[in-house]
Symmetry: C2
Subunit: 332 residues, 2 copies
Amino acid sequence: MKIIVDGMGGDKGYKEVVKGCVDATKQLDVGIVIVGQEEKIKEELSKHEYSQNRIEILNAEEVIFNDEEPALAIRRKKNSSIVVGLKALSENRGDGFVSAGSTGALLAGGLFIVKRIEGIERAAIATVYPTLKGVSLLIDAGANVDCKPEYLLQFAIMGSIYCEKVLGKISPKVGLVNIGTEEGKGNSLVKEAYKLIKESNLNFIGNIEARDIPNGVADVIVSDGFAGNIILKLTEGMAMSIFSRLKEEINKSYKSKIGALMLKHQLKSFVKLMDYREYGGAPLLGLKKPVVKAHGSSDSLAITNAIKQVKNFIDNGVINLIEEDINKITRI
Amino acid sequence: MKIIVDGMGGDKGYKEVVKGCVDATKQLDVGIVIVGQEEKIKEELSKHEYSQNRIEILNAEEVIFNDEEPALAIRRKKNSSIVVGLKALSENRGDGFVSAGSTGALLAGGLFIVKRIEGIERAAIATVYPTLKGVSLLIDAGANVDCKPEYLLQFAIMGSIYCEKVLGKISPKVGLVNIGTEEGKGNSLVKEAYKLIKESNLNFIGNIEARDIPNGVADVIVSDGFAGNIILKLTEGMAMSIFSRLKEEINKSYKSKIGALMLKHQLKSFVKLMDYREYGGAPLLGLKKPVVKAHGSSDSLAITNAIKQVKNFIDNGVINLIEEDINKITRI
C-alpha cells in the first residue's frame, strides 16, 4: 500500500509533515509518497533515519494557501502539492491522500480531480468528535452549507459505513441534529431528512439535541454543513474558553496554584481527551478514492495519525461499501 | 409598575416561584401579580413575610405542560396560567410577564394574545449568553427554525436595542454567525442577511465563527433559530460534559482530590460564571409587551433575576425603541 502525503500543507510547515511520514513508516507497513518542493523535502528527509525504499518524493513547486479562493487556486495552480497529489491518486499511483492544507482546496480538488462516487450527490467532510463515551463521527462538518434532505440521507449512509469500518463501532447509532428530539421538530430540511433516514436500514435513533452531542448520544452525528461546522467550531471554542477561564481562576491565588499542581496529571490527561492530534484527520466521504484532511495545525504526531487513519480507510474497503449502498438506494 | 408572574411554570414548581416573587418585592420597587392555582399560591405565600399590598393573586386553574403541542395548548387551555397571564398583560393589568413554563406555549401565546409589533415579521427568543468578557445576547435562540434574510436583520435591530438598554452595552457589536469571517461565506440565508445588516446603521462587525462566540467576540450574536438553538444547547452540553470529565479525572486519586479541595473556591466561582440563574431569563422580542422566559429549572433566585430583567426591559422603553426603529426601516 502506498499513501500520498501533501508535504506542503499545514500551518507548521513541511518539517513536521516529513517527520510524521518517517514515523508512520516505522509504525505501519506502508510506502509513502511526499508531494511538494523536492529540494526542501529531500534535505529534511536527510536529517532522519528511514528506509529509503519506503519513502519517495513527487515534486510540486507550488503551494495553495488557506486564504486563496479554493476552486480558483485548484484551476490556476496546476503544479501545487494538492493538485499534483490528487492527480497521482486518481492515476492510481497511490491508494490514499492526506493533506493538512486548505480544506476548501482539498475539497474542490477532490471533486474536480478524484471525482464523486456515482450516485453520490455531494461529498462531505466527516470529523472524529471526542465525547464522554469515546468518539463520534460528525458529518457534514462544513463542505455543504445549503443541503437537500437527500444529501443528509447520503451523509448518514457514508458516515455509518466509515464509523463501523474505521472507528470500529458495530451497528453505529445514527442521530440527526435537531432542536428537539420529537419527530416533526425542526426546520423543513431536517423534517424531510428525518423521514428519509427513518426509512433506511441504518440504526437511526432519531433526532438528537446539540446538548447531548458531547455525551456521545450518537455514533454518527448527521447535519448539514452549516450547522455541522458551527457544532465543530463551537466545541473547540468552548473547550478553549473553559480552559482559559479555569486557568485564570487558578492563577488568582497561591493556594489554588498549588492545588492545580497537585492536579497536574489529571488536568493533562483531561486536556489530552480534547486533543485533535489524537484523533487523526477528517475523511472526505463521497469521493472515488480515500482522501483525509489533517488538522491545519498538525504536528508530526497528527500527521502520523492521519496516515494511520487513511490506511484503515483503505484496508476496510470503505469506498466500495459506500458504492454498494448508494447503488442500492439509487436503484430503488 | 406591576409585573405578572406565571406561578405554575417551571420544573421546580410554584413554591420556588412564590419565593422568587416575595424576594423580588424586597429588592425592587414593583408590585407582583402571581397567576395560577389560587389556593396553593395563597397557602405558600402565607409561609413568607411580605407586604400584602405588593403581591396579588390572579386565579388560573389549568397548567400547560412542556410536552403539550404549544399552539393547541394555548387554544384549549383558556384558563391556564400562561393564557390568563398573557391576557392580563394585553389588557394592561400589568407591565410585563415572566414565565418559567413551556417556551413554545409562551411564544405561541405571545403571538396570539399579546401580538407582534407592527412591521415585525417574526418574534424571536433572545438569551443572555455568558462569555469570557461578560455576556452577549444570542438572538434567535430557537423561535424561528426557517428564516428569511429580513428576519435576521430585524433580529439584529431588536437584539441591538435590548443589548444596549438592558445589558448596558454602548453601541453593541453585532455579529452574524457564519462558517467563516469573510464576506460572501456561508449559506444563501446568511449571505443575503449579511448585505441587509451591513446597510443598516447597526455596529455590524460582520461574520463571526462559532469558535469565537465564547470569547465574547460580539455583543449581539445573530442567527436563525435553528443554528441559534444548537449554539445555546451545545454550549450547555459542553460545559456539563467538561465539568463531568474534570470531576472524573479528579476522583481518580487521593492527591488530586486534595488538589481540587484547594481549588474549591476557584472552581465554585468558575461554575458560577456558567450558571444560568445569574443571568435572568430570555426576552421574547418583537411582541407588543415585555415577556421574559425564565429557565425551565428556575429556582427562586432565577425567578427574582428574571423579574429584575423584565423590570429593566420595561424601565428602558425597549418596546417603544423597537417600534421606532422598525418603523424607520419599513418606511424606507
